[in-house]
Symmetry: C2
Amino acid sequence: MATKVATKVATKKMVYFFGNGKAEGAGDMKNLLGGKGAGLAEMTNLGVPVPPGFTITTEVCTGFYANDKKWPEGLEEDVKTNLKRLEDALGARFGDPANPLLVSVRSGARVSMPGMMDTILNLGLNDTTVQGLIKKSNNPRFSYDSYRRFIQMYSDVVLGVEHAEFEHLLDARKKARKVQHDTELTAEDWKELVVQFKALVKEKTGKPFPETPWDQLKGAINAVFDSWNNARAIKYRKLNDIPGDWGTAVNVQAMVFGNMGDTSGTGVAFTRDPATGEKKFFGEYLINAQGEDVVAGIRTPQPISTLEQAMPLAFKQLEDIYRRLESHYKDMQDIEFTIQEGKLFMLQTRGGKRTAAAAVQIAVDMVKEGLIDKKTALMRVQPDQLDQLLHPMIDPKAKLQKIGKGLPASPGAAVGRVVFNADEAERWAERGEKVILVRTETSPEDIGGMDAAEGILTSRGGMTSHAAVVARGMGKCCVAGCGEVKVDEARKRFTVGDIVVKEGDWITLNGSTGEVILGQVKLIQPELSGDFSKIMEWADEVAVTGVRTNADTPHDAQVARDFGARGIGLCRTEHMFFAEDRIKAVREMILAKDVESRKKALAKIMPMQKGDFVEIFRVMDGLPVIIRLLDPPLHEFLPHEDEAIAELAKEMGVTPAEVKQKVESLKEMNPMMGHRGCRLGITFPEIYEMQARAIFEAAVEVAKAGVKVIPEVMIPLVILEKEFKVLKEMCVEVANEIIGKSSLKIDYLIGTMIEMPRAALIADKIAEEAEFFSFGTNDLTQLTLGFSRDDAGKFLPSYIERNILEKDPFQTLDQVGVGEMIKIGSERGRKTRPNLEIGICGEHGGDPASVEFCHNVGMDYVSCSPFRVPVARLAAAQAQIKNPRK
Amino acid sequence: MATKVATKVATKKMVYFFGNGKAEGAGDMKNLLGGKGAGLAEMTNLGVPVPPGFTITTEVCTGFYANDKKWPEGLEEDVKTNLKRLEDALGARFGDPANPLLVSVRSGARVSMPGMMDTILNLGLNDTTVQGLIKKSNNPRFSYDSYRRFIQMYSDVVLGVEHAEFEHLLDARKKARKVQHDTELTAEDWKELVVQFKALVKEKTGKPFPETPWDQLKGAINAVFDSWNNARAIKYRKLNDIPGDWGTAVNVQAMVFGNMGDTSGTGVAFTRDPATGEKKFFGEYLINAQGEDVVAGIRTPQPISTLEQAMPLAFKQLEDIYRRLESHYKDMQDIEFTIQEGKLFMLQTRGGKRTAAAAVQIAVDMVKEGLIDKKTALMRVQPDQLDQLLHPMIDPKAKLQKIGKGLPASPGAAVGRVVFNADEAERWAERGEKVILVRTETSPEDIGGMDAAEGILTSRGGMTSHAAVVARGMGKCCVAGCGEVKVDEARKRFTVGDIVVKEGDWITLNGSTGEVILGQVKLIQPELSGDFSKIMEWADEVAVTGVRTNADTPHDAQVARDFGARGIGLCRTEHMFFAEDRIKAVREMILAKDVESRKKALAKIMPMQKGDFVEIFRVMDGLPVIIRLLDPPLHEFLPHEDEAIAELAKEMGVTPAEVKQKVESLKEMNPMMGHRGCRLGITFPEIYEMQARAIFEAAVEVAKAGVKVIPEVMIPLVILEKEFKVLKEMCVEVANEIIGKSSLKIDYLIGTMIEMPRAALIADKIAEEAEFFSFGTNDLTQLTLGFSRDDAGKFLPSYIERNILEKDPFQTLDQVGVGEMIKIGSERGRKTRPNLEIGICGEHGGDPASVEFCHNVGMDYVSCSPFRVPVARLAAAQAQIKNPRK
């Protein structure tokens, strides 16, 4: 096997040279040469000045592993040949005491894996060649510093001597010399340290530090190969779905130095402003410095605009190059350059990272400039990034005193003074204070206070806790389940470790990351530019998968419609039940001892439900509205604390014992799989009947006022075709009676949620009656995986950390398992009813990867919370571009 | 449509005559003529004396419904033609005042639906023909009684006048005549009642009672058709999976009377003893009586043996006939006969119902007699019935004072004196008392008392509650979750409504039905005859699906092996954890603050676990043993009551608050989908490691002693291939280390339970590593249907009652939903690993219908509780006979 691979590799070209204005490789050879190698080749071919060098292909790396970590046959010869070409190109030689060739050795995979693998600079230095460098540079301090850096880097990466060991020696030196900074050390100091470093290597490895440049190079190349399989690279690959058999290329390139005096320098730049997207050359540089000095922040770099004055020739050349690179790559570039004694060298070019705002502006501008087409523009914006544009965010420059981290339950940021109960929150807000409501967990009674607050922080509860769900609906920042925060509501304070935060103290929340920050932090307000609308408009032109919203109130519906939602995919009727003026009637209904008294209580709720639907139908004029009939188990509506029970008993005119007994009797071991959803509709048909009546009376009322209403009634938790049939018949009877009386024509659909595995399996039978399916992927995930969302926190983090599970299946759809259920459900459903309307209404409807999946399985729409609507619209467009569907 | 059907029916023969020793139909025409009609035809053709008559086919019934409840074209003519043949055969005429023809009209579907549809006797009587009957019978009392019976029956069935209305008149008559029994009324009374009855019909229906025999007959035939779709028939069909479009036949047959004096009589008989199976003619008869008199129990029937003396000729003829029928049908027959004035008529023959013991003996005897082959014999025993043979049962003749009904948690019956705690149970048992342990629910501390008791009754908990599971394991009778029983443990009594049962009072439990009975009832002890072994032996010869057992203790394993189990399919290790001497160490392990202390506690448990495995391996010498690693969430092992927490804290040397906090922190919203199964193995690998060590050390120990040990380690709750891989590697490492040291060769398998939908979906990937699958259908049912077994009691009964769901999916496998998951899992698993060992270990493994399903999907074995093993063995054989598999 090993031999076979070696032979196979040997028949292919293993090393690609670049230099003297010509490269053997090209920009489209990323798979073979890695991103960096392909970029260097491409720039060389474009005539851009690049220090010459060569790239050992990724196939060699793969061969190296297949061959028991030995070099494939012929590689040594090829490397030597190319080294010779490099020497010839530069007129310098490896190990030449007079004019030594120094090289960098860098990894470079197909895709950028920043910081994951190793780099070695200044290779070729030893006690002899350092003298040559001194002569050439006329700078002993620079030369010895370069030498000790090389020893340090090489020993760490190749020989396995820890970086810290060298730092100890360095610290001792500074102490002895009574100085603070490296810059204060002299050439003599560095020279002395080189001796000490080499002694350390001898002591730790039992062997002297390699003096021969060729040995150094071989070791470095092996180290780069090895680094492909170091722990952090493996983890990074798994997290980013990068196959382990891609391998890395190795780039060996002549060193250039930006720190050879005042005619040298180094810098990084972007071809457009990566923060705003503005079309202007943007970057910074340092005179007489190396790349790492820019990063280290010891000296303050200069804005790139000043380079024109400092080095007019180099600047002009740089300007020319960046324009060529951008128009060549048709994207904003992130470039690295070094100027050595007045001569410009480009070290890297790649697509530049950018903020959401910049991504949007650059994409739109480039379309205007004719550089790219609309589809390319759409692919240039990360859907998830759009979230930044819709919520206030924390100023990225602000210094933060982070004190805790909870779940990023509802995105955005909020600043306010801490209060510990909802009434307080309302009172403070009334007098103009900005407040953050902090609770152990919230309950329906807190709604007013949540509305009054800037943001909500809870110490308990998950991504679908009351606080999280309500906050997302309100588009309000929320950090939930922050366990480090110990809330003492009685004493009006919370503690995090030793920190005590009292009522009235300022805190800041980052709902997008879950961070809790002490004090008042500056926020940046969102600004929806015309470019944003443009991108959204293009997205809608392209997408075939529609986007609806999950909205329970007229307000949410309006927000979502403003964000471009094309209907409501899920209107949960139970949140309406929680409102303060209704919960009493709901509890009366639950405590009813017979059907008659239950009906009496329902009659009180009915006009309120109808009123909600009237408003929602008005807002969604012309668009479909899916209303889900009551879903949660009834015990969720009852109080559980003695005090609240006593109060309820008093209100209802029964004994606390009676209420308590009812609460007890409704208790469930596994409420998620209990008496809920259509099971309530079967056992208490009067509840669903009231809801159907409210829906269709509302529909008739608004239709009379000229609103185009398209109601879709959704029956939840179906697993048996008969459940659906019985309840559909009931709804149809109510609908026909009400619509019939009105002499209007109102089209409506009756459909179901597919959220239990059995429903997906018998979708063909359910579709005989059901006119639409909405995949409830929250529950479908719970049941397919057997993960209780409320409890998974006990083991899920450890699963993800150990990479047993790649991602939290409640955040991004488990495409293998839950996705398979969806495929089965969709295929079987459409087999019976080819035009079956299919959508998704779980939290996944706003996750771009999940939207792509939904597109690929042929869904008609996804539905997500209002603030995720733009994200989903863009994701739907990208999905269509990647995998066009009719 | 209606016309089309009518035409279609018209082209087929609609009426089949039988009489004069020849029938147009035959015994194999059950589908067309119904069971009764086919039987009458067959007997007629055999030359057995049968009153002549004719059968209207089931197709006519179907046509009747398709034709808007009208008679198909030509039917009236056909009925009239056959009526004429009947009149000719008997020399009597419909409506003839001198010699009237009287007929019975009876329904008869393909399969017997006892009591579901209607029968009318004595049809043809009216004020004129009754005089003819008086003349013929010379018995006015008999004649008027027959007449009033006809009016009563006909009015109820055809005219919709309630039976009770007639009974009121009858009661009034008896009161007026100051008599108690019908038999005391005279001919004059009956005559008078006929007048009153007819007046009542006129009053209630507004029309006179039909006098014309032809009108009477038409009405009766329509009523039989109608009765096919009455509510109780529909329900019966649904419960017994009988399609609604089969329809019923109508049998019109000449009346014969067993009540025409001392040379008349009627009786029922079985060709063999239906209670014991003994080969002897068995039955009873009444002189001068009608069939309903035998049933009503007013007079005591005579044993059939005395008929020889009473009517020697008829008896000889009857003996001859029953022998012919049995050898013709090759099965024990249940026959009905009437002797009219010395002449014998057979009215029915059909396969006789029988006890399990009789079924076994008859089947074996008939093979010996050469009447049937072994496969037919196997099909003659209902697997579910075998349960009767394995447990004591309540004497079917005993009069029972039933006071409550709980779940039939563990079959059999038990009699004992009530005690309310486990210690008491042990003390009473020691002094020789038989006791029934009554608890609200049981817990691990009650094990000793449960073992000492004859049976267990709990007021709370389901089919898999602690009491139920432990009792089934012990093969001990248990009624669980009997909510009507209010247990007051403090006052040592329980109440059911007004009934108070105190400590020491006798009660009887029927664990097969769930009934709780007051007082001491006679039990019948099981007797496993040689015939039973014979049937089991034949079953094993035929079956290809093996039967293993779910057994957690050496005792259970031994019982199961004695019952013929061919291995252990599920050995739950957690039940071992509950034993009194271990729970302390288990709790110490759970409360451990770090890995080290957890390992210390595990080291204490390890020798005990190993000891269990040693014993189980010894018992199962030569057979495979699947051991499941720890499955339940840890909180199940901790106490929840304050007192017990305090005690535990004291034992562990920590504060009660600490214990309480741990208990709280382990609490779960939906424990079924929580931190359990292999999720524990991933987060606390030391637990599974200890268990693997115990298993393989035990294996090596017994193997050294010459036992053939075949361990199969089962990892529960897997949903991700990596979960399995990581844990398998750990087990293999432990196994190889231990086996390696021993210099023995021990083959073992590492496999998994498929109990989460996702596991079934990715079975192909799991099978890359897993060497066997065991479908855990308890959990798979919960998750596929989203039914929490602990909570489903709130709606499941109403689902089944309303026929939304046909059967409790926890008792018999939901073949459509869960079955589909099993099919997917099996197919995908075997795609990767064709020889994958596949079995089932849910409660369904002992349910015959589910066993058949498992056979059909190609499982290697089913596994069930020890006492269900014979049931499963027979079910597996029958499955193979019905659907032969290689």
